[in-house]
C-alpha cells in the first residue's frame, strides 16, 4: 500500500469532523469541527479529560459510532481516501488491516473463550490470503515483537492466563499483525503500572520508528504525551482548543485551559503549596456554553467569548482563544 507520494501526503487527515448524538431536546455535538493530520512514523497525542470527545474522535475515525450517535460531517482521509464514503463492507476491510485500534481495556480486543492463536490467526486470515501455518507463524512473530517471553507457549494460552500488562501486549501484537498504516490507541496504558507502562511506551516507540506506522495516542496524561509524542492536540468540550509540537504546546501554552492543566500538575508547583487549580468541573456535552466551551471556567473570559474564536496559527502552533496566554511558562492567573 506504500505510495510514492507518501512523504507529501499525511497518513491520516481528519477534516472538520463532527459527531452528534440524538437526544431529547436536539442533537448533542460530542466531536465538534475536529481537524488534524498524522504523517508516517509520527506520534500524535490527543489530550483531554473525560467527556472532552477524545475517545469519540477515535471511534468516529474507525466509524464505530453506534446509534443514537452519528457522524454528521467532515472527512476522514486515510492515505487520501475518504473513509466516510466507504460502504460497510469496504470499511470492514480497512479496520484491523489499514487502521488498528488499541483500547484501554485489552479485553475489548480479546475474546475470553478463545485461545490466543485462534484469535490471531483469524485476524490475519480476515485480511490476507495466507495458510493457517503461515498465519500462525506471523502471530508468533508479532508476539515476539512486543516483547512477550516464550511466544510459542503463549499462543496456546487463554486471555485469563495473562496479567493486565501481558494482555495489553497481546492486543498490541494483534494490532500489528497486518502492518497497519495507522494505530489508534485509546488510553492503552492508563490501567497499567508505571514500570509496565514504561515497557509498552518503549515498545510502541520502537515499533513506530522501525515500521513507519503513524500513531494516535489518546490520553488524559500530559506527562505521557510529553515523553512520547511529536505533536499534541488538546481537546475540551468536543473541540481542539490548542495543537502543535509538544515542545511549543507544553512550554508555551496559549490557551488558558492548556495552561491551567499544566499549572495544576504537582511538578509545576512548590512542594506542599496549594496546587494552582482550574475552577469548577467540565460541563457535560449537552450543557456546553455557546462559543468557547471553556469560557465558564476561564479566568480571562469576557463577553466576546460567547462566540467561537477563529484558530490562530503561528509556526504550526494553533490555538482558539480571544485572550491567549502570553507568559512563557503559561502560568495561570489565580
Amino acid at each position: 500500500m506504500t505510495r510514492p507520494d507518501d512523504t507529501m501526503q499525511p497518513t491520516l487527515a481528519v477534516e472538520h469532523l463532527r459527531t452528534e448524538f440524538a437526544a431529547r431536546g436536539g442533537a448533542v455535538t460530542v466531536v465538534n469541527d475536529i481537524s488534524f493530520t498524522v504523517r508516517r512514523g509520527e506520534i500524535l497525542g490527543i489530550v483531554g479529560e473525560s467527556g472532552s470527545g477524545k475517545s469519540m474522535t477515535a471511534y468516529s475515525i474507525m466509524r464505530l459510532v453506534d446509534a443514537p450517535g452519528c457522524i454528521a460531517g467532515g472527512r476522514v482521509l486515510l492515505n487520501g481516501q475518504d473513509l466516510l464514503g466507504l460502504n460497510e463492507e469496504q470499511m470492514r476491510r480497512v479496520r484491523g488491516n489499514r487502521i488498528a485500534m488499541i483500547f484501554q481495556d485489552p479485553m475489548m480486543t480479546l475474546n475470553p473463550v478463545l485461545r490466543i492463536d485462534t484469535q490471531m490467526i483469524e485476524a490475519v486470515q480476515a485480511h490476507q490470503k495466507v495458510g493457517r501455518a503461515q498465519a500462525r507463524e506471523m502471530a508468533r512473530a508479532a508476539l515476539a515483537r512486543v516483547g512477550l517471553p516464550s511466544p510459542e507457549e503463549r499462543l496456546l494460552a487463554y486471555p485469563h492466563q495473562f496479567s493486565g500488562g501481558m494482555r495489553q501486549r497481546v492486543a498490541i501484537a494483534i494490532a500489528l499483525l497486518n502492518q497497519p498504516d495507522l494505530i489508534l490507541c485509546d488510553e492503552p496504558t492508563t490501567a497499567l503500572d508505571v514500570t509496565i507502562q514504561g515497557q509498552i511506551l518503549h515498545e510502541m516507540q520502537t515499533l513506530c520508528r522501525a515500521s513507519g506506522t503513524a500513531l494516535v495516542w489518546i490520553t488524559h496524561d500530559l506527562a505521557v504525551v510529553a515523553g512520547l509524542a511529536d505533536r499534541v492536540c488538546v481537546m475540551y468540550g468536543g473541540r481542539i482548543v490548542e495543537s502543535g509540537h509538544v515542545r511549543d504546546v507544553l512550554e508555551r501554552p496559549r490557551h488558558p485551559y492548556t495552561a491551567g492543566l499544566i499549572a495544576s500538575s504537582p511538578s509545576r508547583n512548590r512542594r506542599g503549596a496549594p496546587l494552582r487549580q482550574i475552577a469548577g468541573a467540565a460541563p457535560p456535552p449537552s450543557e456546553l456554553p455557546s462559543g468557547c466551551p471553556f469560557r465558564t471556567r476561564c479566568p480571562h473570559a469576557t463577553p466576546v467569548c460567547a462566540t467561537m474564536p477563529e484558530a490562530d496559527v503561528q509556526d504550526g502552533h494553533m490555538w482558539r482563544c480571544f485572550h491567549p496566554m502570553r507568559e512563557p511558562e503559561g502560568a495561570a492567573h489565580g
Binding site: T195, A223, G227, S264, P266, S267, R271, L275, R276, Q277
Partner: protein
Amino acid sequence: MDDRDDVPLLELRDVSKRFAQPVDLAERLARWLTRRGGNEGVVHAVDGVSLAIRRGEVVGLVGESGSGKSTLGRVAAGLHAPSSGTRRWQGADLDRLPAAKRRRRQLAIQMIFQDPYASLNPRLRVQDIVGEAPVVHRMITAAQQADYVAELLQRVGLDASLMRRYPHQFSGGQRARIGIARALAVRPELLVCDEAVAALDVSIQAQVLNLFMHLRAELRLTYLFISHDLGVVRHIADRVLVMYLGRIVESAPAEELFTRPNHPYTMALLEAAPVLEVRRIDFRPIGGEMPSPLRPPFGCRFHPRCPHAMPRCSAEEPALREVVPGHFSACHLNDG
C-alpha cells in the same frame, strides 16, 4: 488527648496479612490421597511490615498493583485484622482492647476510597451517607443531623442545599468530596486515603488535593496517603514508603527519596514515571513484571528484575537498614 510527640499516633509492628484460598472437600481429599501438605494457596499480601505515623504527618505509601499497599492501608484502618503483628494507637495495643473500646478508638481512623462511584450507597441521600455514622455513634442526635451535615458539606466545598440528593446526581469530583465529608463526620484524627484522587480528572485532582491539604491544616489531620502516582505523593507527603511484593523496600523523607533514591526498585519506579518536563525521551524500561504474591521469589523479592542482582540476593533477604539518618533501604548493595 495525648500529645506526646515521641509516641506515634499509629504504629504497626511487624504486621502481616495473609489471605488463604479456602480448601474445598475435593482438594482436601486430593491432598490426603497424594499426601501433599498444602499451604500453596496462601497469599502474603503484607509480610512483616512495621511503620509509625506521627501526629500531623503525611505518610505517602507507593507501590504497584500487587505490592500490598492497599491491604496495608486496610490493616492500618482496621478494616482487616492483621494475621500477625500489632497495631498501636497512641501506644495502646488496639487488638487487645475490649471490643467496645476498640470500636471507639478506631473511629479516629477513617478511610477514603478510590472509586467515588462504588464507595457511596446509591440508594441513600447524601444527608444519610454523611450523617448516619455520627448518629449511630451518638456523637450527635438525629435532630442535629441536618445542621451537622450542612456544616460538613460546606467544609469540603459542597453546597449544603444538595444534601437531599442521591449520589448519581453528582459529578466524580463532588462524589469524592462526599466521601471525604463522610470520613470527617466521625471526627477522625487519621485519614487513610487509598488512591483517593486516582479516578479523578486532572483538573479535579488538583482541587481535591488542595482540599486534603487545607483540611490537614484546619483540623490537624494526619494522613496515610496511598497512591501509585509519584508526582502526587511527592507533592503532598512528608515521608514516603515504597512497597514491593508485601514488603517495605525503602522509606525516607519525601524530598530525600525523590532526589536520592537508594533501592534499585525505587530508582526503576522513578525512571519509569513520565514527567512533564521531559520531551520525546527514549523509554528505557525495567524488564519483567511483579511476580505472583502466591510464590514470591526467594531472597530479595526484587532480584529477578534487578539490574544489580548478585548471587547473595537470591539467597538471603535484605533487612530494612538505615543508610543515612532517617533514610531506610532494604538492599544488599548497601553492605558494600
